[in-house]
Symmetry: D2
Subunit: 118 residues, 4 copies
């Protein structure tokens, strides 16, 4: 179903099932986990300016830390998609089409204003 993730999904499920963790993985707790891991990624940039955050990602010695946090979010997100039959490619295409209506190019170009205020 989520052909995009097929290569990596098997490893994610193997890790989970060896630990008998599927019983903990309902939609509510997986969404909590995604949010908590996303917050850990954000923490890497806390108290940094935009410019400092750009320097931080360029520095090779921070690569692993960043990759690790991104991976943690992605692992739960991929499992979420697999468990609840979300075709992520289709989901993204559909959402981009909706966003295109919320943020028409002529209004949204070059500004970061939320669509409710455009």
């Amino acid at each position: 179903m989520n052909s995009l993730f097929e290569p990596i999904l098997k490893k994610i499920k193997k890790f989970r099932d060896e630990r008998d963790w599927k019983k903990f993985h309902n939609p509510k707790d997986l969404a909590e986990a995604i949010s908590i891991e996303a917050s850990e990624l954000l923490e890497l940039f806390l108290w940094k300016t935009k410019e400092e955050s750009m320097e931080f990602v360029k520095n090779k010695k921070n690569c692993e830390e960043i990759s690790d946090e991104v991976a943690d979010v992605m692992v739960f997100l991929i499992e979420f998609c697999d468990n609840y039959s979300i075709d992520i490619e289709k989901a993204i295409e559909k959402k981009l089409q909706k966003n295109a209506k919320k943020y028409p190019v002529n209004k949204a170009k070059g500004v970061a204003t939320k669509y409710t205020k455009l």
Copy 2:
């Protein structure tokens, strides 16, 4: 680089670049966006029990709402990986190996205890 996302990445970048939004997309703000969108996904399950969350995802009429929120998180996560040269497959494999050490099967099997307390 992120061959896993090649098919969908082009559409994500087209959407962003048509709106001249790349200038807003530094690591700090992208991490904020990922966290904020993850929180919107979580909100779908707020005040629901685990069981109710499972009913919620099974109900066809909630599918679109769930897919939309998952897509929002994924879009920013995919862009993050692309911008900062994270090979997500490698990142996940590496992280699963680390997690396997933090959560050895014999200790972690069937329990949801954090590794710091195992």
Copy 3:
């Protein structure tokens, strides 16, 4: 201004100023910090059912951990209010009045539905 917090505010500011940290405390980063700390509070309940979360808070040996996470969120929230002249009592009263309109008793009683779907 925030008379509610007067007794504790002095200690929070002393801690911050001894470390010369005010320079990092702009609205964006304080909001990030509040969100990150809130996420750490949430992590205490990850993978737990509603009932298990109720057992967890009753257990004396978890008290300190919970108090610590709540304190972390509160410290940044109190500083945010102080820095940007938010009278938290007035802010809460005003917001409760707005919420009362969004969630009229006759519609909202006993249900956890979001106001957009009431």
Copy 4:
């Protein structure tokens, strides 16, 4: 118990109890609510630089929006403290003492480094 919040707590509980919402308010869901509301506060500063976030809070016409989001976080946090008998003043004092050890002035002064890397 939480004398700090006595004046406002009554109004928060009245709002909740008129709607018969106490049944939804367990530790797990309250922590989710705190995290979700904190994320909405953060969203006000998304895509803004540090400097723009400082301009944003100074502008009178944004005051209400900011106060509203802060209030939302605070309402759930105050209820959390009340429900689970957390004396917030004591909790903050205790946590500041712990943080003082994690971040000794001579090491932490003027730098935003996490204690694990100090």
